[in-house]
């Protein structure tokens, strides 16, 4: 069974700092990749997704992620975080053509104003 690893469980940043959250997966075949976000008190929602094409994917709210196939990685980045980015971030991977994602355990991001 495939697994999804998010290396940073808790990240604390000041506003305007740059963000990179790591995500690695174990499956070697075709993958569909997702980043979801859960803001305090809100539903889980999609930030961005990669199915094929340009490995640099741009999502909502200034987030982007890069798919590096050779490294089995799909890291999330934002050049300058805001206090409103405080949330739980989940990486998810669908393997073998599946659109059913396997989720990582999540990274809690706190941004201090």
């Amino acid at each position: 069974a495939q697994s999804v690893s998010q290396h940073n469980h808790h990240v604390i940043l000041s506003e305007a700092a740059s963000l990179e959250l790591g995500c690695n997966y174990s499956y070697g075949g075709t993958v569909n990749l997702f980043w979801y976000v859960q803001y305090p008190g809100q539903h889980l929602q999609l930030l961005l997704k990669y199915f094929s094409g340009d490995p640099l994917v741009k999502g909502i709210k200034g987030f982007e992620a890069e798919f590096i196939k050779s490294k089995f990685s799909f890291n999330l980045r934002k050049p300058s975080v805001q206090w409103s980015d405080t949330a739980e971030y989940f990486c998810a991977v669908g393997s073998g053509g599946s659109y059913i994602p396997t989720f990582g355990r999540g990274t809690s991001l706190i941004v201090h104003p």
């Binding site: 069974a1 999804v4 979801y36 539903h43 889980l44 929602q45 999609l46 997704k49 989940f90 998810a92 599946s98 659109y99 059913i100 994602p101 396997t102 989720f103 990582g104 355990r105 999540g106």
Partner: protein
């Protein structure tokens, strides 16, 4: 346009009991997936319903069962509850099994088993 709704919001049961959770998908969506999210963990896929049939299933025992109605709403049933079943249960809806559309998640039902 209403998003995904779930009921109830919270539920407390005792070991051995049975529970039914409900989900109404986003308008226009025909596929419903259920996830279990334990504290401090990411959501784990339970199963997906499409055209009133279970189409895919994750690594969960038969105590977990479901149903999808003609209006695409869905129920998750858990029998013989265990303490370890305490979790947030999320419903997600999509179009065409998620192949052509993103999954939209509901707010979840918090189940506590005592």
């Amino acid at each position: 346009d209403a998003g995904v709704t779930q009921s109830p919001t919270h539920l407390i049961k005792t070991r051995g009991q049975q529970v039914t959770l409900r989900c109404s998908p986003k308008s226009g969506h025909d596929t419903v997936s259920w996830y279990q999210q334990a504290l401090g963990q990411g959501p784990q896929f339970i199963f997906q319903y499409y055209e009133e049939e279970e189409r895919q299933r994750g690594n969960f025992p038969d105590r977990f069962s479901g149903h999808q109605f003609p209006n695409y709403s869905s129920e998750l049933n858990v029998n013989a509850l265990l303490l370890g079943d305490s979790a947030l249960y999320l419903c997600a809806s999509s179009l065409d099994r998620g192949i052509s559309d993103t999954q939209y998640f509901g707010p979840g039902t918090r189940l506590t088993v005592l």
